[in-house]
């Protein structure tokens, strides 16, 4: 996908993450549109394309968040890298792997953020974060993965050659 489309799309997804997502939250479960989109793209097209999105998306989320700067960037690039790495190592169905990757990435992403908060002297309870925020959020992410994966497969089929292949 052209970076002229990809980067504005990432910015819009980040804006939606902060303003639209609270309206569709179910109890404590809040979907993470940007995370799902980028991890799914890592599964579909590999980190060569997903990593620039993760870097840009992480920086945008850091700008829109009150969390310590750099925390989203770190969490997003780590899970994107691992999602692609796992996809290369495991020989399985892409659909199944996408589900497993998003589930694992959601939890790992939250854990990285939680550890960053703890390391920067923010008084949070890791157990509470996992039970109250991460697990419900990860399940919600699985739900939104379905349309996202379908859409990305369509995009992948329509634009098989990346505009930024040499990243």
């Amino acid at each position: 996908m052209s970076s002229w489309v990809a980067f504005p799309l990432i910015a819009i997804l980040a804006a939606m993450q902060t303003s639209l997502v609270p309206a569709i939250a179910v109890g404590p479960a809040r979907p993470q549109l940007l995370l799902v989109w980028i991890v799914c793209w890592a599964v579909v097209r590999g980190r060569g394309e997903a990593l620039p999105w993760a870097i840009f998306g992480g920086l945008v989320l850091d700008l829109l968040s009150q969390m310590p700067p750099g925390s989203h960037l770190l969490a997003l690039v780590v899970v994107t890298f691992l999602a692609d790495l796992g996809h290369r190592v495991m020989q399985g169905s892409t659909e199944l792997f996408a589900g497993a990757a998003v589930l694992a990435a959601s939890i790992l992403y939250g854990l990285v953020l939680a550890v960053v908060l703890l390391a920067t002297q923010h008084p949070i309870s890791l157990v509470d974060v996992v039970l109250r925020d991460l697990l419900p959020g990860a399940l919600y992410n699985l739900v939104i993965l379905v349309p996202v994966f379908f859409l990305q497969r369509k995009i992948d089929g329509r634009f098989p050659v990346s505009v930024i292949p040499e990243f």
């Binding site: 902060t18 303003s19 939250a25 968040s65 310590p68 780590v78 908060l117 920067t120 008084p123 974060v129």
Partner: protein, 272 residues
């Protein structure tokens, strides 16, 4: 992907991680808040648009799930409850406030604060960081440190201000302890996030301490971060622990902090 581009992607990953760590370590020194201010200004139109869309979605879901009630009726009744709650809190305070130190007019003036209303246009991307973005900023006289109120009481504090928006740290954020007191007895404590919820910690509480569900907590004014007398939360659960020096009661915020659509900023009080 070719081996070369894989290696390049890996090197970009390493660079990104290093940059992230540098930002984490040097973020404050690099004045990242100033960059966040610029970003907030750029993203504000998108956030307003999406927040309005979100309100529509929320109303749609609410209309489906409610039986017989209209949204307008619901809002009207909530407003009535909020008004009565404020009157009740004010009444409780009047009964116990020392008449020699505070006359009734002064207390009423405390409660009649100047406010500016704002739309909530964004929440923090992560639930573990409790903050939100509102649609007004320095252009409307908003300053860092001002108190932010929901329909029934205090919901947070302004931390960062841009010309047309501002970031607000919510009372449910662990990094924002609030000094409070019971409205009916003036017993002081600190509102904190504890055990998966909000709690008030009261050091040196009397042995005959009795708290009932629904008892209102108001800001005590101690520390100078908030004005005195703003309703904050209500007691939801309490059991006296004889062996403890600090008594802890579970409390519930007066407003649903995850469903705020409009808030008011108290422009009368700016902490030093």
């Amino acid at each position: 992907m070719r081996r070369g581009s894989q290696a390049r992607a890996t090197s970009y990953f390493v660079v990104a991680v290093v940059v992230a760590i540098l930002l984490l370590v040097l973020g404050q020194a690099l004045r990242f808040d100033a960059v966040r201010g610029v970003a907030a200004t750029l993203f504000q139109p998108f956030q307003v648009t999406f927040a309005s869309t979100g309100g529509g979605i929320r109303d749609f879901i609410g209309t489906i799930t409610s039986i017989g009630d209209t949204q307008a009726e619901n809002r009207r009744l909530r407003q009535q409850v909020a008004d009565l709650q404020r009157q009740l809190t004010a009444s409780d305070q009047l009964q116990v406030t020392d008449q020699q130190l505070r006359d009734m007019l002064g207390l009423r003036n405390d409660l009649k604060i100047q406010t500016v209303s704002a739309q909530v246009i964004g929440l923090d991307p992560e639930a573990m960081s409790q903050s939100m973005t509102i649609s007004i900023g320095s252009g409307k006289g908003i300053k860092p440190g001002m108190s932010v109120l929901g329909q029934r009481g205090l919901v947070g504090r302004v931390t960062l201000v841009q010309p047309n928006s501002a970031q607000v740290r919510l009372v449910s954020d662990p990094s924002l302890p609030v000094n409070v007191e019971l409205a009916k007895t003036h017993l002081g404590g600190t509102l904190k996030v504890r055990d998966n919820g909000l709690a008030v910690e009261m050091l040196g509480a009397p042995t005959d301490l009795k708290l009932d569900p629904g008892d209102i907590l108001v800001t005590s004014g101690l520390g100078g971060n908030f004005p005195k007398g703003l309703p904050v939360a209500e007691i939801s659960q309490f059991r006296y622990q004889p062996a403890q020096v600090t008594q802890v009661a579970q409390v519930a915020p007066l407003d649903d902090l995850n469903r705020l659509e409009y808030v008011m900023v108290d422009t009368d009080f700016v902490p030093n």
